[in-house]
């Protein structure tokens, strides 16, 4: 990760945040705007971060994965379905149902990844086509089952979509409790500021684990024997094979890890963000994670930074809604999702041109291994 790239990311985030602060400051204090945007950015970037990490593991081991989108979609559906089933049919308490849903999402992701691994590693199908198969299969499977399970003949839900047990709750990190005594007796502003900063850290479990996983992935890939072997089979499988590393096994394992991460990303949508499923709900975020992975030059921390840029552009659009009253008419387009929504896509295309620093994929990325 070079400084040019991090600098570019920092500039874009500052511009996006600065724009909202400039417009919104007549209505709200800048600190509150920045903290609220930061909280949104981190939450929105969660599936992108996890998706990008999924890509990093697969591609570092030499398997191109454009099926992240499909893995996310399938996991979101099956995780949600499991939670609903546990709650309504087996009548487990809410907490158990949601946790089981998240677990099920991860397992679904791994099963989809297993299919991708079988196709691309064992059967040596072109990996982009294999990924496309995953994507199309996920759309068909979730669309069919979503209708069949709830409206089909003999459905236990008898033609209606039941309420989900709910979503994961945010974890409170007690920053306010620890720091507010330092403010002194009569400074409510200081306490308010600390509470605002605290809200940035009060994220939900999957969002928090995504950040943890970024650093864990970094450590695993660059500081452990496992990581060295993973990178070896992605860069030069023949050499790796010669020194006794089982290329096929390493690739399978890493694609499965990638699937688990994509599954967690899927759980974000239906277990953590909103308690419902609708067909095609991932809406291209799997592909954007792929772009984040490339922009991050196949490193976990870089991919996270790129995911935050994409998250910030969503946060801009969401926060602009709040300042509807004070936004100048010539900037009103910033509230429209089809205009600001374009930022990640256009940014991705600019990134791919290589203007902002060349990206180097693992040397054997996308190449099936023939002994």
């Amino acid at each position: 990760m070079d400084w040019k790239r991090f600098g570019f990311i920092a500039i874009i985030i500052v511009v996006l945040f600065g724009g909202v602060v400039a417009i919104g400051q007549v209505q709200q204090r800048p600190l509150l705007i920045v903290t609220s945007m930061l909280a949104t950015t981190i939450a929105v970037a969660t599936p992108l971060t996890l998706g990008a990490l999924s890509g990093v593991f697969c591609e570092r081991a030499g398997v191109v994965n454009i099926g992240i989108e499909g893995m996310m979609l399938a996991s979101a559906f099956f995780g949600w379905l499991a939670a609903v089933y546990m709650f309504h049919v087996f009548e487990y308490p809410t907490g158990v149902s949601i946790t089981a849903g998240a677990l099920f999402a991860v397992i679904t992701g791994m099963l989809m990844a297993l299919l991708h691994a079988v196709l691309s590693i064992t059967f040596k199908v072109d990996q982009i086509i294999g990924g496309t198969v995953i994507n199309i299969l996920a759309v068909g499977l979730t669309g069919f089952l979503n209708r069949q399970m709830f409206f089909g003949k003999g459905s236990v839900f008898e033609g209606s979509i039941p309420n989900s047990p709910g979503v994961l709750r945010a974890i409170h990190i007690p920053i306010t409790e620890i720091l507010s005594p330092l403010c002194g007796a009569n400074s409510p502003l200081c306490v308010e500021n600390i509470a605002a900063i605290n809200r940035v850290f009060d994220q939900k479990p999957i969002a928090l684990s995504a950040i943890l996983l970024v650093f864990i992935s970094h450590y695993v890939l660059f500081n452990t024997r496992w990581g060295l072997r993973t990178r070896a089979v992605g860069e030069h499988p023949k050499a790796a094979d010669t020194v006794g590393i089982n290329v096929i096994k390493m690739r399978y394992a890493n694609v499965l890890i990638g699937g688990a991460l994509a599954g967690l990303a899927g759980a974000y949508f239906t277990i953590e963000s909103v308690p419902s499923f609708e067909p095609l709900l991932t809406n291209g975020r799997g592909f954007i994670s792929l772009a984040a992975m490339i922009f991050g030059n196949w490193t976990p921390i870089g991919a996270w930074a790129a995911a935050l840029v994409f998250g910030a552009s969503s946060a801009l659009q969401i926060n602009m809604q709040i300042f509807r009253a004070v936004i100048p008419p010539q900037l009103a387009f910033l509230q429209q999702s089809y205009i600001v929504g374009l930022v990640p896509y256009i940014l991705t295309m600019i990134i791919l041109t290589g203007i902002i620093g060349k990206t180097t994929p693992p040397a054997a990325d996308g190449v099936p291994y023939d002994k």
Partner: protein, 388 residues
């Protein structure tokens, strides 16, 4: 003597069988893939409590008619299958042509949508701009050309990025898809929205009568766009196999380095391949507007892009194969309604069977493994590294 004669005729039979298998080999795997998917689909239908035989009977009746349905309904069924097949053929050809050039166009969806938007724009607005009523012979081709050029430009941008900066076309076509769909929403909810007071939907006004295809048969929806699609398939076959450009496209697809040393302008060819591919997808949209809907409506094109990939792979990127695969996919989509009527199986089942077809075609090794057919060792390779 007798036994020798027998072994002789047996070996003759075996050799002719071998010849037959070799002759049928190119279409053997796709056929077996379809068969396998149908079996898997049947198992799924059975497992959710349906009747697979009845479901497939409904699928067949709904798409090609039957004596039971009577001549009127059968004619309509066949006509509707052709209606479905028309955009599939264009979009399938778009993806297939890109495959031949070693490029993967996942963006047919967006190119199709923008083609439809611009075709409608020319269809409803051009006479007003010019202040004259145009005759069909001028207006209709212009409307189609509008869609064609727009689709071409949309994919051409990706082609140029690939050729001159190395930005990978897979990600870029996906990104362009979302940009296209967002722009379409923007236009159809804004300046291009049908201004009639009763309209609440994001759709364009109807195109002028002069920008419409006539139906082939009175009372049926199948229009001359279907015939145009068949001609286009023949044209693309000719382009790929009988022209210098086609040769260059195929050479770059097979081996860009070799093409470069043979003096082919690789960058120009990559751009042109994407442009023509996008133009075909744009045409799919234009034909839907001028032949069928007479307007573009938001969300009508959902899924054509991915279906087109499956069609191109199933048709082995051969124009005739694409036509056959399109008709198969169209028949499934069209027959699904009757299937749902007979068995209460949701229409989405078809998407799943199609996903399986794609799976088995893409991973022909699986089909070859199941049916014990030897491979000739050809392998599609599209992945040539991401990024710069």
């Amino acid at each position: 003597m007798q036994s020798e004669k027998q072994t002789n005729s047996l070996s003759k039979f075996l050799s002719s069988l071998k010849q037959f298998i070799e002759w049928i080999d190119p279409i053997l795997v796709p056929l077996l893939a379809i068969l396998t998917s149908m079996i898997v689909g049947g198992i799924i239908i059975k497992s959710v409590g349906g009747d697979p035989i009845l479901a497939y009977k409904g699928l067949l009746e709904g798409s090609f008619g039957s004596a039971e349905l009577g001549p009127v309904k059968s004619q309509r069924a066949i006509s509707e299958t052709a209606v479905w097949a028309t955009p599939y053929i264009f979009a399938g050809l778009a993806v297939a042509l890109a495959f031949k050039g070693g490029l993967f166009n996942i963006g047919a969806e967006g190119q199709l949508a923008l083609g439809a938007v611009f075709s409608s724009l020319i269809g409803y607005a051009l006479p007003g701009w010019l202040g004259v009523d145009l005759p069909t012979i001028i207006h209709l081709p212009l409307a189609i050309l509008g869609g064609l050029v727009m689709g071409g430009i949309w994919a051409g941008i990706v082609g140029a990025l690939k050729a001159y900066t190395g930005g990978h076309e897979v990600i870029n076509t996906i990104m362009m898809n979302y940009i296209a769909l967002n722009s379409t929403s923007f236009l159809l909810n804004g300046v291009m929205k049908d201004p009639s007071p009763t309209n609440v939907i994001a759709r364009t006004p109807l195109v002028a009568e002069s920008a419409r295809f006539a139906p082939i048969f009175e009372g049926l929806r199948v229009h001359w766009g279907f015939v145009l699609a068949l001609f286009t398939a023949v044209f693309i076959w000719w382009l790929l196999n009988k022209t210098t450009l086609g040769f260059e496209v195929r050479t770059v697809g097979a081996n860009p380095d070799a093409a470069h040393y043979a003096g082919v302008n690789v960058k120009r060819t990559i751009f042109l391949t994407m442009f023509i591919s996008g133009a075909l997808a744009g045409m799919a949209g234009a034909i839907e507007v001028t032949g069928l809907n007479y307007r573009h409506e938001l969300g009508f094109s959902q899924g054509y892009g991915f279906d087109a990939i499956a069609i191109a792979l199933l048709g082995k990127s051969h124009p005739i194969g694409v036509v056959l695969a399109s008709i198969l996919f169209a028949a499934m989509r069209n027959g699904a309604t009757r299937m749902q009527f007979l068995t209460q199986m949701p229409v989405d089942l078809i998407s799943m069977i199609q996903a399986f077809i794609l799976l088995f075609v893409a991973a022909d090794a699986i089909v070859r493994f199941i049916f014990r057919i030897k491979s000739k060792g050809e392998r599609v390779v599209l992945t040539r590294g991401w990024g710069g």
